[in-house]
Symmetry: C2
Subunit: 431 residues, 2 copies
Amino acid sequence: GRARKFLESASIDVGDMVLVEKPDVTYEGMVLDRADDADDRHIVLKLENGYNIGVEISDARIELLEKGSEPRIELPPVEAAEDPELPDVSIISTGGTVASIIDYRTGAVHPAFTADDLLRANPELLDIANIRGRAVFNILSENMKPEYWVETARAVYGEIKDGADGVVVAHGTDTMHYTSAALSFMLRTPVPVVFTGAQRSSDRPSSDASLNIQCSVRAATSEIAEVTVCMHATMDDLSCHLHRGVKVRKMHTSRRDTFRSMNALPLAEVTPDGIKILEENYRKRGSDELELSDRVEERVAFIKSYPGISPDIIKWHLDEGYRGIVIEGTGLGHCPDTLIPVIGEAHDMGVPVAMTSQCLNGRVNMNVYSTGRRLLQAGVIPCDDMLPEVAYVKMCWVLGQTDDPEMAREMMRENIAGEINERTSIAYFRG
Amino acid sequence: GRARKFLESASIDVGDMVLVEKPDVTYEGMVLDRADDADDRHIVLKLENGYNIGVEISDARIELLEKGSEPRIELPPVEAAEDPELPDVSIISTGGTVASIIDYRTGAVHPAFTADDLLRANPELLDIANIRGRAVFNILSENMKPEYWVETARAVYGEIKDGADGVVVAHGTDTMHYTSAALSFMLRTPVPVVFTGAQRSSDRPSSDASLNIQCSVRAATSEIAEVTVCMHATMDDLSCHLHRGVKVRKMHTSRRDTFRSMNALPLAEVTPDGIKILEENYRKRGSDELELSDRVEERVAFIKSYPGISPDIIKWHLDEGYRGIVIEGTGLGHCPDTLIPVIGEAHDMGVPVAMTSQCLNGRVNMNVYSTGRRLLQAGVIPCDDMLPEVAYVKMCWVLGQTDDPEMAREMMRENIAGEINERTSIAYFRG
Ligand SMILES: N[C@@H](CC(=O)O)C(=O)O
Ligand SMILES: N[C@@H](CC(=O)O)C(=O)O
């Protein structure tokens, strides 16, 4: 493309330090290669401050400052002597920003590195635990799907079986809460399983990766033997919150304290040096036997209700053979009256339909309004104070465990991994 | 049914005061009739404290205390002398809890009353303004749909044309924010248009209806000539927040301060007696001419992305002739890679596809990750800091205004009613 020719014309390669002059501005930085899908009118520079910038080349002049070498992608494995005094923590990497630094091949934030790299960037971890790293796969978490939940659960199970005293799962933030919920249902664990991620990649000066990883490893050595999410507690780089894996949601597109406990308190506040319990009601290390129930049903629909939604959407899912439906309804657990007949059909076909609320905070209560009562009569399963995303994941898991709709209903109604609180304290709502 | 026989056997009618004895408890209250869809093993009593309770009859003994008369449904219109010093405010009722008291026919909270009843319950309103009431329809807002948005907009337009100095719209809370967004796009207004509702019906001692209505009428006399939502600011019965109609969302199933401004400050804090501006940047009374653009396209899909979502869902909407699609994506505005080809198809067919984030807080940014860039290349319209619900409503409205996909894209990208903030202050996030 044009950008490549522009560089070639000045004998400039990826990795070189250059000066680029435009009519109104001058940049100094390292040339990065471009993604295949990028347009060909820009080159990308990595500036001194760590940020990447795209520069439009039509009116630019380029000058070589210093020849660079193309950065290596492969690095040798980290060698660290085992300290018998320290607990053993396994870090499993699935991808996402936390597991990536800038990919020099594409000039984009793109998952490219393994768990080993986390250690290279965070040698402090070796003071907290003996670290083992393992990459399961390397994807952006928007591409997660139920079969990858299974692979992740198996990898965690394997590490615990092999003696890990705690496991950290590095994961993209987009769908981390779906995966943490999945593992909450699939695994019974005698040790902590801690998900973590980052909103900014670790080559960015403002990265949140380092604190999140250090706190996660600390949490993995704690007494809280549940599946949790460990991410920044505030905008400051001081401490993390440890959230129950079934009570957490990504609530901001970019803030580092994006993960919030919903209808629950965070379990703990964590720093690299210690942990402060905020919610005493957790499963203690060693109280459960290790157990894996990793069958999931992929044909589950997750449907948001909205004014004007057509019942044909639900009908279509039934025709396609979907085996379960989770509705993200309005208010106390409602959807338009026009959906009730087809929901009744689903029920009669043995396809469970569960109801959650797009309010996210609070509890579904389908006895207050006639809509709710009619939905109950049509067979809908109310999901109490379960988050919509958690109810979706749970339905996938439940239908992996049983073919019997009545059994599925019972399991949906039962608190299995802390996803249902008996009573929702309205005080949990910060808004 | 059985319940009816139980009452008949003791010659008890709806409206009678009775004593009901069960082995372990005794109730005194008024007999309410039951909803048609209720089971037949319970009767409903209205207790002294205003609450309704269902009593299982199998082991109950009933005794007549006092014969009552079945409550009238029709009441005479409110008569109030016009005060020429006061502004004229019209209250338009669409239904919902705010416009209902217990429906004695069904024994359930069920919309049954008109705007006139609001006045009967809130005579204080006549000190703030001359009040005109008008019921457009009477539905629970989960049953709202785009054609009702149009009817509501026309009713508001009519009131303003007839000289109202401000309009209050009584509406169910479930989908109030969808309707307030719809009217924000459909109307240019020289006077305030204030949506309000209630989480508890006005016959309940803890009702929030009264404060909400009084503050709304106060806001309707203010200088803020926008479409807004006026609801409790906190759990206490002290003041309301006035939210911009395109920047607000129901965030709790039951709390009275359920409505929250998202990616924005509330415009004002309102009490029955006055208004305190919190955000100076609003449209002043009289600065716009009254204008109605009430065409909407109903064939717009609103789809939540989730791990495992099938591209066939989008394909089906295209096959069915949907003319626009709004995706509630993850993180900065993503969905699984597997959806990108069919999104490209939609774009090629002239069906605009817009992207929002299920994080709700923050701003879509599709230039950070390869997923986002590939979606942009497939033609997706990024919705900046627009709420998913608002983007859905806007797409319905935009496609009512134009058939041209390029024009639709431009309108989606343009800030029309305050739905897009140039810069999102991350400080707006409370979590
Ligand atoms: N889109 C990325 C963002 C992140 O890594 O946090 C992902 O979820 O994988
Ligand atoms: N479900 C009712 C609740 C309320 O009135 O607030 C509605 O939205 O109409």
